[in-house]
Amino acid sequence: MHPSKQGWGFFAAVVMIAFIVLANPGSAASNKLVITGSSTVAPLVGEIARRFESRNPGVRIDVQTGGSSRGIYDVRNGVADIGMVSRALKPDETDLQAFTLAMDGISMILHASNPVEALNQQQVVDIYSGRVSNWKSVGGRNARITVVNKAEGRSTLTLFLDYFSLKNSEIKPHIVIGDNPQGIKTIAGNANAIGYVSIGAAEFEINYGVPVKLLPLDRVDASVDTVRRGIFPLSRPLNLISRPAPQGLAKEFIDFARSTQVHDLIEAQYYVPVSIH
């Protein structure tokens, strides 16, 4: 046999095997729940869903992201059983019912050695847009400010921009970071840096002796406690939504997600659990 012919035979065989493996249809479970919505909430709900599945054999939960608005749209249209929304429901959304899983708060952080004790809104805006570039101008020592910003698409960035009415293209960053731990390490390594992270994440690291500090915002202390009480301004609820009076599997899942059985999962994502059960 000519080697190249053999080669083609092989190629065909391998392609066919690949197709068979890839096209294997997922076994259709009868007990299925579809959850869509916010990409902030999705990782947490994904973890909760995995635990729920392992405790209820035979149940299959499909978690898809696509933004809070998709969650609302899908629940209204019956495409999804439950939606994920990383904000409070708006007045025109009374046809839906929200179940808060957790609170998420973010705050400005500085290096622990930075003498600045508080910044007001205008000062933060000035620093991030590059109009103020030295700590001296806001009551600190004479040193250049290193502005730490989040990568585009991160929910923390969106919340930060909304609160300070900034556009991301107006911000003049010196360092762009991905997740919270990287942001905290960056600031811990730079005495003149300013950044913003999830409060839960920052408190966790501070307890382990990392030299950063949280700044109060609008004279409210930044702590997991003020976030839990709902008085910290830069915070938001992470909600599951459904049409009123969820039943059956959807109700079971919502109850499970708000029970103390998932607190460790919520805290692992640096959110603040708020369940009453």
């Binding site: 992201t65 991160r154 293209s169 970071i177 390594g189």
Partner: protein, 284 residues
């Protein structure tokens, strides 16, 4: 007789299957990248990736050139440092070091090759960046990226060069000695040219790793999307761009990240093509 023919056929089939599978995986990755970036390639013109005012995908501007230059600066800088250092280490181990220190030194380099990239990144973030920051803020910079990358690709170059030098036939060396060549002229005139192919292969492998390295660079290079004016400016590489934004990207944003993956792939392919062409050309 029958048995050996049978074994040969079997071996050929197994080897062919292996080759086809690896080629297929490569082709599938390429197809996947193309199909994922297709939605934006259809309604955005290619020129937009080069001429838009900035990279703010959520505000509809998609300029990839700062990341292209960042990737190239960081990799070229690292190669500039790692190639001479790596080749020098290999020459030292093979021709100058005593057997005991040669072994020790080689083991150290092998150890360096085995350190995971995230450890380099972590070390860079907590040690290197604050050091550079004392020199010139903000610390997270092209320089920090180059230094971390250098450490990561140095072992590849050193070990490949070492293997190539060891493989130079003994009679070449003995003939050179018989002709009365001194140590350095023998290395320069005989050993290095004979080991050329292996050394070039090492450099190409190292360049590929430098271009595609993600975690370590992401942690130390600052990730600001801009063309660097100096070594102390922060930069963002194509790979870091994907890792930073992929987790939360949706729709067009997600698709343009696949475009930057495609761009990175083309860059690596161009580079290895260029290296192959250069290698061939100087032999002719």
């Amino acid at each position: 007789m029958f048995r050996s023919v049978f074994t040969d056929t079997l071996l050929r089939w197994v080897l062919q299957a292996g080759a086809v599978v690896s080629a297929l995986v490569m082709a599938m990755i390429m197809l996947f990248l193309l199909s994922e970036s297709w939605p934006v390639l259809q309604h955005l013109s290619l020129a937009q990736f080069l001429t838009d005012s900035s990279w703010h995908p959520l505000e509809g501007s998609y300029n990839l050139t700062p990341m292209l230059s960042g990737t190239l600066y960081a990799s070229m800088g690292a190669l500039l440092l790692a190639v001479p250092l790596g080749i020098a280490s290999a020459i030292f181990i093979v021709y100058y070091a005593s057997p005991r220190s040669a072994l020790l030194y080689r083991r150290l380099i092998e150890l360096l090759a085995g350190i995971p990239s995230v450890v380099f990144g972590f070390w860079g973030l907590t040690t290197l960046v604050p050091l550079v920051n004392q020199l010139h803020p903000p610390g997270a910079s092209l320089l920090a990226g180059i230094l971390v990358l250098t450490l990561m690709i140095l072992p590849t170059i050193a070990l490949m060069t070492y293997a190539a030098l060891i493989a130079v036939p003994d009679e070449y060396i003995r003939s050179a000695a018989a002709l009365g060549l001194s140590g350095w002229s023998m290395i320069r005139g005989v050993a290095l040219p004979a080991a050329r192919t292996g050394i070039v292969a090492g450099i190409v492998l190292a360049a590929g790793r430098a271009l595609g390295e993600t975690m370590a660079v992401l942690m130390v290079a600052g990730n600001v999307v801009q063309h660097a004016d100096s070594l102390f400016d922060p930069i963002r590489t194509l790979a870091a761009n994907i890792a930073l934004e992929m987790a939360y990207a949706m729709g067009d944003h997600r698709a343009v990240l696949f475009v930057s993956g495609l761009m990175l792939m083309l860059l690596v392919m161009t580079l290895s093509g260029l290296a192959g062409w250069l290698g061939k050309k100087s032999y002719a």
